[in-house]
């Protein structure tokens, strides 16, 4: 592959509520994009409670925290679980990472920009909630994906997140992925309500990227510390992720 001149497409994945499978989804999307020929940088933006490394069972050398504290070489922080997939790990259990001061924000931004050179996509996987770091990562991204499940609290929290983002930094559209749905119809129904409210109250578009069925393969993969798209690519969730990845791929073109 020849190096593209164009800058990478930056995508932020957020959820509002925790435990909706956001990080697992980010990881699997990253793998799916790599599989179809893209180079992907996955940034673990869950700065206080990072777990991308856990999902992949990879040892990490140094984290975003080390970078900010000791200003090491950002390249040394990257881990490559497979070819063309770089991961910038965060630190788990370091509360002060949740609030970044403006100086740290601009330095972190610089690190990510440096690291992103040569990648086609940068996926920023954020923390749960609507804290400052979540909003900051979302501001850096060109595309904002909000992950939710049909659980009422997840729907409400996802909407709350979009509302805060819309108020603080208005954009044209949000993208959403409905995770762990019983069936396509359930996912559509949740999306339709959400889309209506987003359009009516936030005056923004909400595009459905796809629905992912509840699938025991997802939990099996988390326990095995491997992405389901690798271990069981033909499972229903894996197929759904591949479809979504194909749509995202077009953003990079």
């Amino acid at each position: 592959m020849t190096a593209k001149k164009r800058p990478p497409t930056t995508i932020c994945v957020a959820s509002g509520k925790g435990g909706v499978g956001k990080t697992s989804l980010s990881v699997n999307l990253a793998y799916a994009l790599v599989k179809s020929g893209s180079r992907v940088l996955l940034v673990d933006g869950d700065l206080g409670l990072a777990n991308v490394d856990l999902l992949l069972g990879i040892p990490i050398k140094q984290t975003i925290r080390n970078l900010l504290d000791e200003s090491g070489n950002p390249q040394d922080s990257l881990v490559f679980p497979i070819e063309n997939l770089g991961i910038l790990p965060a630190t788990s259990g370091v509360p002060e990472m949740v609030t970044l001061g403006p100086d740290e924000q601009s330095r972190l931004n610089g690190f990510i920009e440096d690291l992103a050179v040569g990648f086609d996509f940068v996926i920023l996987d954020t923390a749960a909630g609507i804290g400052p770091s979540v909003l900051w990562f979302n501001r850096q991204a060109l595309y904002n994906i909000v992950v939710l499940t049909p659980d009422p609290t997840s729907i409400t929290d996802a909407y709350a997140l979009m509302k805060v983002m819309a108020r603080q930094h208005p954009k044209n559209a949000f993208f959403t992925i409905l995770n762990a749905v019983a069936n396509e119809r359930e996912g559509r129904k949740v999306y339709n309500n959400l889309q209506q409210v987003v359009s009516q109250f936030l005056s923004m578009e909400l595009e459905l990227l796809g629905t992912i069925p509840a699938d025991p393969a997802v939990n099996r993969a988390v326990k095995a510390q491997t992405p389901f798209i690798q271990s069981e690519p033909e499972c229903p969730a894996g197929m759904a992720v591949s479809t979504i990845a194909a749509k995202i791929e077009k953003w990079g073109k």
């Binding site: 400052p132 909407y159 309500n193």
Partner: protein
């Protein structure tokens, strides 16, 4: 001002006693004294308006850089005009001085007590979140209420109305807007009956970004117009 921190220059004639140096030293001391005086309100011993505005800008900058919030309390004595009218301005001044003393003993060393003007006071609480600042304001309110003053041999119970607002990492915040918010909260405390603390519940932010029932019902496809239970 940094002149004062510079090393004393050696006497050019190298004598043991140098009247010129003595004079410089005396002037420097006077200068330090005046500098301190220029920051302090003579009556109450609190910092004055000029110092307040500088300190506020500085705390806002600290919050901007570190993300650590601070808080501001504004306190206004209730019915102070009546005291002046009834007992005279000398007594009025005594009341201000006594009140400042009571409040000072209820603050931490890092807090910055200032006289904003007349019978209005402002306290900057560095590195302090709103809930803690509300407690402090409540403490100030109570301490004054509990300490009756004696004027012309008569015990007078004084009270104050307080407004508390947060200094947070927000691009749109200015020192003027913070003071204005605190002022409005004091007015609210006054119109709600005085001798009370009103605070900024971030209601304006919550209103614009909180999820309302109307939205929630549409989101979840529920029909009931308000709360579902009870």
């Amino acid at each position: 001002m940094n002149l004062l921190e510079e090393k004393q220059p050696d006497c050019p004639t190298d004598k043991n006693t140098c009247p010129l140096q003595d004079r410089i030293r005396r002037l420097e001391e006077k200068c330090k004294e005046l500098e301190a005086l220029s920051q302090v309100d003579a009556l109450t011993g609190f910092f004055n308006y000029r110092y307040l505005m500088n300190a506020l800008e500085q705390e806002m900058e600290r919050t901007r850089r570190t993300g650590v919030p601070a808080s501001l309390i504004m306190g206004d004595l209730d019915y102070f005009k009546r005291i002046n009218d009834t007992y005279g301005h000398e007594n009025g001044n005594l009341v201000l001085k006594t009140t400042a003393g009571i409040w000072r003993s209820n603050l931490r060393r890092i807090d910055i007590p200032c006289r904003y003007g007349g019978e209005e006071f402002v306290f900057i609480l560095p590195g302090t979140r709103l809930p803690q600042a509300i407690q402090t304001a409540e403490r100030l309110r109570r301490s004054l209420e509990k300490s009756p003053l004696s004027l012309d041999g008569k015990p007078i119970v004084l009270t104050g109305s307080f407004g508390v607002t947060g200094i947070v990492q927000d691009q749109d915040m200015t020192s003027g807007s913070i003071i204005e918010t605190a002022d409005q909260l004091v007015l609210r405390a006054k119109s709600n009956g005085r001798n009370r603390v009103c605070y900024d519940t971030y209601s304006s932010i919550a209103e614009s970004t909180g999820v309302r029932d109307e939205e929630k019902n549409l989101l979840l496809g529920t029909d009931r117009p308000t709360k579902q239970k009870r």
